[in-house]
């Protein structure tokens, strides 16, 4: 039953290979066409609009063609998505604007320590495949809270799941819309607030009519765009510089040259002896923070609802497992390329900027400097006169750019690569389209996770269990629009903390959901009370640590035994005892909630653990509380134990059956 296609969209799903091959070919043809138009002298602005416009039209077209009025298609794409395509869709669902645009820049700035993100955001899929996804697929859930409700007997567990889901998905979706706004602003010169709502339209058109089914097939199309856009510039650069179009291999040579340059900078007084060496471990994070960060990102990956729900769409448990492997392969392609971007840009900056007279700065420095994204001597590099003045203000500056004078925003590394490498504008447009695809696809998945939790879990399962199918779908779509508009409105107000808060989602999901999901499958003795206590304790401790260290750090120091974090290299406190006493006595510092620029914000904690890894506390607490409370409460009923056995056994029908 699962493999046969029926009803509207059957033609689409039975010709997948041909359709996506044609689509990919068409996309390459389009890139070439735009390239020709550029040579003919068409203005860059119009080329940019062509890229954005055409790709969004294609997504909208897929969204309309795959519309549906069936509940199971709306929530789980009718469980007809083959493992391979679900892998691609998960890749797009997973890789956000931050991965596409920000990751390479993070690696540029942090060097080796930035690899914690590369490791954390890939290794988590091992946990997904082995511990969680196949069992949730067998159960037949529509949403993650569905599973919690069935396993832990009731709506209390369901609501706890919804709470954690909301907390980790909403800021995340806001960040994606923020990302689409930035891309449209930078490449099309669009007004930021307007661009947020254009992004909103792009997201809704993919998800509203067809729910999960439409989102799946648009995400596949978006994956193709984003991976092509990510690879082309860096492959080109590698072929150009090292004569081999395999950047993942050739950047080893770039690393060697970077290391040589670093040593010569230190020797010639162009950088302090304490400069961050690119491949040296533990210069930005202490070893403990590095490993806790990897751990929290991995466990968080395995607990994020918008990722887990993608595996509800495969035809079988077997395919769900294989699909996780495909997902990881598709994600891997981007993540093992990102360090190459970082290395090539760093080599470019080190070999053409550092140690050169200020008058010799290339044009791209000023192009990005005008937007405040490149700084020299602490000021935006908007013109030669400005940077000369800024550097002259520093005592003893010889008018030659030093390592410590140069600053770059993490977003610029990927965006500026085509320009730095001297590639035609068509490639820049392509990168913008890729970034847009990454942001839109992730936003789609998150929005669906949020709206489905509200419409399926809260409305249908709790408020009105007798709602007819038609009404459920109407409510689902209405909630989708409401959540989307709310997210776009929040993004348009430019919340300053939003990007930092995305990193919190991983810890919140890890601390809140991981114990209940994993023990729910692997430990029969886990009880309803244990799970609810575990979720609330794990989520609560994680949230407490995040909020206190970020917004009320002085309370953390005064009442909760927190102390200054330590410098990862020297081990000295970031804020010494005297400064701490002074800050605590200063009402300007202790007037919480404090801003990110506050001297104490995110710089205090327990055991020198950064707040980005706050599940280091939440997860163990959640596990222990769940264990202890489960042991103290009566063993789950015979029926429930049979239910667990059924989830563990691939054979047979799904346990949750949709009434038709």
């Amino acid at each position: 039953m699962s493999n046969s296609s029926s009803g509207g969209g059957g033609d689409f799903t039975s010709n997948l290979g041909r359709i996506y091959a044609l689509y990919t070919g068409g996309f390459f043809g389009f890139i070439i066409l735009v390239g020709i138009l550029e040579q003919l002298g068409v203005q860059q602005k119009y080329l940019g609009y062509m890229f954005m416009g055409l790709t969004i039209l294609v997504y909208a077209f897929i969204g309309v063609v795959t519309r549906t009025s069936e509940v199971s298609e709306y929530y789980v794409a009718g469980r007809k998505v083959p493992a391979f395509y679900n892998g691609m869709a998960t890749g797009a669902d997973w890789m956000s604007a931050a991965s596409f645009i920000g990751m390479a820049g993070t690696l540029f700035l942090l060097g080796y320590d930035g690899l914690a993100f590369v490791l954390g955001w890939t290794g988590g899929y091992v946990l997904v495949a082995v511990l969680i996804a196949p069992f949730l697929r067998k159960f037949g859930a529509y949403t993650v809270p569905d599973f919690l409700a069935a396993r832990y007997g009731g709506n209390a567990a369901r609501l706890c799941g919804v709470l954690v889901l909301m907390a980790c998905s909403f800021t995340y979706v806001v960040a994606q819309i923020f990302g689409t706004g930035l891309i449209a602003q930078r490449f099309l010169g669009m007004n930021f607030e307007l661009a947020c709502f254009v992004g909103l339209a792009g997201i809704l058109v993919c998800s509203m009519l067809g729910g999960m089914k439409a989102v799946t097939w648009t995400q596949v199309a978006q994956y193709i765009v984003l991976i092509v856009a990510y690879l082309i510039p860096v492959v080109w650069m590698s072929a150009n510089k090292f004569g081999l179009p395999v950047p993942q291999l050739t950047y080893g040579q770039a690393l060697e040259q970077i290391a040589t340059l670093e040593q010569s900078f230190i020797k010639n007084g162009l950088a302090p002896a304490t400069m961050k060496i690119h491949d040296a471990p533990f210069t930005s994070y202490s070893p403990a923070n590095y490993f806790w960060l990897i751990f929290c990102l991995m466990v968080g990956t395995a607990s994020l609802p918008h990722v887990l729900m993608r595996y509800f769409t495969t035809p079988s448990v077997r395919e769900a497992r294989v699909s996780v492997a495909w997902s990881l392969l598709f994600i891997f392609i981007l993540y093992f390329t990102a360090p190459a971007y970082a290395a090539f840009s760093k080599l470019e900056v080190y070999s053409t900027l550092i140690g050169k007279p200020l008058a010799d700065m290339p044009q791209w420095v000023f192009n990005w400097g005008k937007l405040g994204l490149v700084t020299i001597c602490g000021k935006s590099a908007s013109s030669l006169a400005d940077i000369t003045a800024a550097c002259q203000a520093i005592a003893g500056h010889a008018g030659v750019l030093r390592w410590q004078d140069f600053g770059i925003n993490t977003d610029v590394v990927v965006i500026s690569t085509p320009e730095i490498a001297g590639l035609p504008y068509v490639i820049t447009g392509l990168v913008a389209a890729g970034g847009l695809a990454a942001a839109l696809s992730t936003a789609d998945g998150l929005l669906l996770a949020l709206a489905n939790a509200l419409s399926h879990d809260v409305y249908y399962k709790i408020i009105n269990p007798n709602a007819p199918t038609k009404q459920r779908l109407i409510i689902s779509r209405m909630l989708l629009v409401v959540v989307a508009v709310l997210a776009a409105w929040t993004a348009s107000t430019r919340p300053t903390d939003i990007v930092a808060m995305v990193a919190w989602a991983f810890s919140l999901a890890a601390g809140g959901l991981f114990p209940a999901l994993v023990l729910g499958v692997w430990w029969k003795r886990a009880t309803s009370q244990g799970a609810i206590a575990g979720i609330l304790a794990g989520f609560g401790v994680t949230l407490f640590y995040l909020v206190i260290t970020r917004y009320w750090p002085h309370l953390g120091v005064q009442y909760f035994g927190m102390a200054s974090l330590l410098n990862p290299v020297s081990g000295a406190p970031l804020i010494d005892a005297a400064a701490m006493a002074q800050h605590l006595a200063n009402p300007a510092v202790t007037d919480g909630p404090v801003l990110a620029s506050n001297p104490l914000a995110s710089r205090v904690g327990w055991f020198n653990i950064n707040n980005i890894s706050s599940a280091a506390f939440g997860l163990p607490v959640g596990m222990v509380v769940m264990y202890v409370v489960s042991k103290m409460t009566p063993e789950p009923s015979k029926e429930l134990q049979e239910f667990i056995d059924n989830c563990r056994r691939p054979k047979g029908q799904t346990l949750m059956v949709e009434k038709v």
Partner: protein, 84 residues
């Protein structure tokens, strides 16, 4: 399916799980404890510690997952709980 058969199935599944988690821990965490030492070794210009965190472990994860899909399916078939 008898309770005993299912017990055996779950035991095999669990031991595969433990193997996978052990490998996950080795490649995800343990190997990077030695990054400073591994960095002394260079391969194609890559310091080995850097290489493991940027590519080596990632390749291991991908290979592990495809292998896991096969191995778990084999167990399902052997024990008669595979889907039709």
């Amino acid at each position: 399916m008898s309770e005993q058969d299912f017990e055996r199935y779950w035991q095999r599944t669990s031991s595969l799980m433990i193997k996978m988690i052990a490998l996950w821990f080795i490649f995800g965490i343990a190997v990077h404890f030695f990054a400073p030492q591994l960095n002394a070794i260079k391969i194609f210009g890559f310091p080995l510690g850097f290489y493991m965190a940027s590519q080596g472990s990632l390749i291991a994860f991908v290979v592990m997952l495809f292998w896991f899909g096969k191995a778990q399916d084999q167990i399902d078939r052997d024990e008669g709980v595979a889907e039709e």
